[in-house]
């Protein structure tokens, strides 16, 4: 619905001087002026700075080139990724007043490439949620249908790109938080293999599952951003030590590709039309569609949430108001801890910290956390088996298109279940991308999720690009 050019288009337009950087910022400003109050996609905007930067670029005749491939490209950053000198709220009251003193590695790399940061986008508090209704700054409304959610937790990033408040955005994905909002808002969301992109500066939710993801209008844009932000980082000991491979997005689908339909994602769909939409999109594709079973997918939400909640309870232990953020001071130190954390966290975050703490506690850790770890290993093994038979795996990104605001918020479990198709790839550390199905359902976009074996990010992007072009 946004009429902004894609990154790839914009690079050409800027290079040929058919558009100016300031014009793009002005257009974005206009879109924000019209759509932002309803969408509520942004928590903080840096439009004055963005304009000043763009003016400077135009004045000096700077254009995107090999050294600065994203020169002048306006990008939105999810507000759980640190931008130096700017507030980083994570949509939580407990971080009120916190100004990040450093750039996340992904932000530094985007800045080095010449990108312009438009603002920090709204999210579910601390990235915990599937609808962006858990924000201390209010819910995000889907620009495609403002009665509906934009998805979560990267709802703000998706909505901003969808209505033209930015050309592209960085989101984060722990169990589907970038792929699902992308699907709900008619965009592309790419989750790299765990370890491809540095997490330094991404406020941790679940350390072994979090990844920074591009949310874009096209696969090519996602690949462009990925090529800038990916690669080993000494600041993140979990990054994969090898540089990402070269990508060739010009090609067609190679011969003999086998695509596996994950049985468990097509059976018992809440809305059968979802499965049809996915299959119809592949009708023109010269690939062999095979049914593949990954039985453990059925419990992916249990395994995912248990691990994520446990790690979250640990990662959020640092929020105590002592060194930064909001402090609720009481007479004694102990009471201050309780009050600060009790007041500062919203309901969903509180719920997850409670359960996560329980899952790690003495006497329960083996039945809960350690069991989830073993489940994870078993699931990864099932994926490995499946990839012996097929090159890629296919499923709908979510069980339904964007649901209505308020529909699932009262039932946490129902909300968690919206991650059932996206959680497995995160658990198995695999790369996965959500692209658009050709058809809509009730006028709403439908996301197709393609998953590839670990480290085959380049191949996945090449394939997804070819499918997108069909």
């Amino acid at each position: 619905m946004s009429k902004l050019p894609s990154i790839a288009e914009l690079i050409l337009l800027l290079a040929r001087e058919e558009r100016k950087a300031t014009e793009i910022i002005e257009e974005i400003k206009g879109n924000i002026g019209r759509k932002e109050s309803e969408a509520n996609a942004y928590i903080n905007l840096f439009l004055d700075e963005a304009l000043a930067q763009a003016k400077q670029l135009d004045a000096s005749g700077s254009k995107p080139d090999e050294e600065k491939p994203l020169q002048g490209i306006p990008i939105a950053i999810k507000d759980n990724i640190c931008v130096s000198g700017k507030p980083c709220t994570c949509a939580s009251r407990i971080l009120e007043g916190f100004i990040a003193p450093y750039d996340a590695t992904v932000v530094a790399r985007l800045k080095d490439a010449g990108a312009i940061i438009v603002g920090k986008t709204n999210l579910d508090e601390f990235a915990m949620g599937s609808s962006n209704e858990n924000s201390a700054y209010g819910p995000v409304r889907n620009p495609m249908d403002t009665e509906r959610v934009a998805g979560g937790s990267s709802g703000g990033s998706a909505a901003a790109v969808a209505y033209g408040g930015a050309v592209a955005a960085l989101g984060s994905d722990t169990g589907g938080s970038a792929r699902q909002p992308a699907a709900f808002c008619g965009l592309v969301g790419f989750r790299p293999s765990y370890g491809r992109v540095s997490r330094y500066g991404l406020v941790a939710f679940a350390s072994s599952l979090d990844q920074v993801c591009p949310i874009t209008r096209t696969v090519q844009d996602a690949a462009l951003i990925y090529s800038i932000i990916a690669g080993p980082d000494p600041c993140d000991s979990t990054t994969y030590p090898a540089k990402p491979e070269e990508m060739d997005l010009a090609g067609e689908i190679p011969e003999g590709i086998k695509v596996g339909l994950i049985k468990e994602c097509f059976d018992d769909l809440e809305d059968e039309r979802m499965g049809d939409a996915v299959l119809r999109s592949f009708r023109e594709a010269r690939v062999e569609l095979v049914e593949v079973s990954i039985p453990l997918v059925r419990l992916s939400v249990a395994g995912y949430q248990l691990l994520a909640m446990a790690e979250a309870s640990s990662n959020l232990a640092r929020y105590d108001g002592i060194r930064y953020g909001r402090r609720i001071e009481r007479l004694g130190l102990r009471e201050t801890y309780f009050a600060t954390r009790g007041e500062g966290f919203g309901d969903e975050v509180t719920r997850r910290i409670l359960i996560g703490t329980f899952g790690l506690s003495a006497g329960y850790i083996d039945a809960y956390y350690n069991t989830a770890l073993r489940y994870r290993a078993a699931l990864a093994a099932e994926f490995e088996e499946a990839f012996k038979k097929v090159d890629f795996l296919l499923s709908p990104t979510a069980p339904t298109p964007a649901f209505k605001l308020g529909e699932k918020i009262a039932d946490p479990l129902a909300m968690y279940l919206s991650d059932i198709f996206t959680a497995p790839a995160a658990l198995a550390a695999l790369p996965a991308i959500s692209i658009l199905a050709k058809d809509k359902i009730d006028g709403l976009p439908v996301g197709i999720q393609i998953t590839a074996p670990q480290w085959q990010d380049a191949k996945l992007l090449e394939f997804a690009h070819a499918v997108e072009r069909l």
Binding site: G332, E343, A378, L413
Partner: protein, 88 residues
């Protein structure tokens, strides 16, 4: 395992103050969600994920970081972070 007691113990461990209304609500949700998770135990899964690469090691070269704690917190005294006392 009484519901109320469990949730308070966990809240204590996590330093979360729960108001009385919240205790009931969170308690119920907690029960429901943990019961859902318990399904995993019936699977008796096996296996261990191993990290594909080892812990990287950084040379021991000190670096000065110009961080101004005044920008992080307003609760300072003579350069220290100031917090309420530990009541006996």
């Amino acid at each position: 395992m009484t519901r109320g007691v469990e949730i308070l113990k966990v809240a204590e461990l996590a330093r979360l103050e729960l108001k009385s209304g919240e205790r009931q609500r969170f308690g119920t949700e907690f029960e429901r969600i943990t019961a859902y998770f318990a399904q995993l135990q019936k699977l008796s899964p096996e296996g261990e994920i191993t990290f594909p690469y080892p812990c990287p090691r950084t040379p021991d070269r000190p670096r000065d970081y110009d961080i101004k704690v005044e920008k992080l917190s307003g609760y300072l005294k003579d350069g220290y972070f100031k917090i309420p006392p530990l009541l006996a």
